[in-house]
Assembly symmetry: C2
Homo-oligomer: 205 residues x 2
């Protein structure tokens, strides 16, 4: 299992190479939606993309490699955090954006696949960690602003607050495997906010 060359490392990133990559990532996402990560085969992706299977093996190496590349693509489309002026609104916007992603017909299966890939491939795990750490850093900014406005105690750890908002949603998705609803998102915000106001997210302790 040779480590595949990322597109960034290619010597000729021009026309055909870029077209092949686009077709393969497109086909990968379609396959994820229809069959999930466990049903993702290099062979079928190659056929669907109209590309030689040798090429898919050479450049991506494994199903996990495909998912990792898809992840980097999605990470580049990351959105700036909301700024509604009040913390509760910002946090709710964050929770709802997670919720929306999970329920999206294409993004949902892709996110599930990213998590599944991470459970069985170290490279995918790193990619997933990078994906979320970027997202969390971005939204932590909204909490920092709230601290400056005096809505939360000085020293509150913004990244931890954002993690705390998502944690129950992913817990339902991955562990208890119950449907994740808007009520869950609202409850998560309310509980996290209650703990944060009580100073439970102040850095040292």
């Amino acid at each position: 299992m040779e480590q595949p060359s990322r597109l960034a490392g290619t010597v000729r990133p021009g026309g055909r190479t870029a077209r092949v990559r686009a077709a393969v990532l497109e086909a990968t996402q379609d396959e994820l939606v229809e069959r999930g990560f466990h049903g993702l085969t290099m062979d079928q992706v190659a056929v669907r993309a109209g590309v030689g299977k040798t090429t898919v093996y050479r450049r991506w190496g494994s199903p996990a490699g495909l998912v990792v590349d898809l992840m980097t693509e999605l990470a580049d489309q990351s959105v700036p955090h909301a700024d509604t002026g009040a913390l509760e609104g910002d946090l709710l916007a964050n929770a709802l954006s997670v919720l929306e992603a999970l329920h999206d017909g294409r993004l949902g299966p892709t996110l599930q696949a990213m998590i599944a890939a991470a459970t069985c491939d170290e490279q995918a795990a790193q990619g997933l960690r990078a994906f979320y750490s970027r997202r969390i850093q971005e939204w932590a900014g909204a909490v920092d602003l709230a601290v400056k406005r005096g809505e939360l105690p000085e020293g509150t750890d913004g990244a931890e607050v954002i993690r705390a908002i998502s944690a129950p949603l992913y817990y339902r998705l991955v562990v208890s495997r119950e449907p994740v609803t808007r009520e869950d998102a609202e409850r998560s915000v309310a509980r996290t906010l209650a703990a944060a106001r009580a100073g439970a997210f102040v850095s040292p302790g």
Copy 2:
């Protein structure tokens, strides 16, 4: 892929059949520790258990089937919740028992495998849900006692409190894939307790 017969459904659950099952589940757990879920093959389990591979396919059907059976075995060994007399001690005991399980040389890889299996197999997903719902119901009792003692507001949802304790730990394990420490467990208890005391876990809202 024929659905395998559970041991419960066998007509002759006596000596040999039970020995085969024990040997196979033992081998499965060993393989999970050494190779993880993605490296679990029916063939290797059969060899390691000293059992015909036909038998493994017939009774368990797939790697996910093996993990599911292991899960039911572990669920039967579930422990009653702590009762230290104070809620914080009970919740900490819960968080630490999760932590301990995750770090255990045999249980840790098995739990990870259960989650990985659930991401790609509906039967495994149901098994995992059953496993945790049983655990959560058990520990929710500790919260109910605390409500009776007046430590938390009337109407506090015990099961949700227990879920909230575990959620950040599993979030680290599965999503952000950072090491889970005792500090994480303590923080999770402190934050959940702060939210619960503020009434954020009272049922309707």
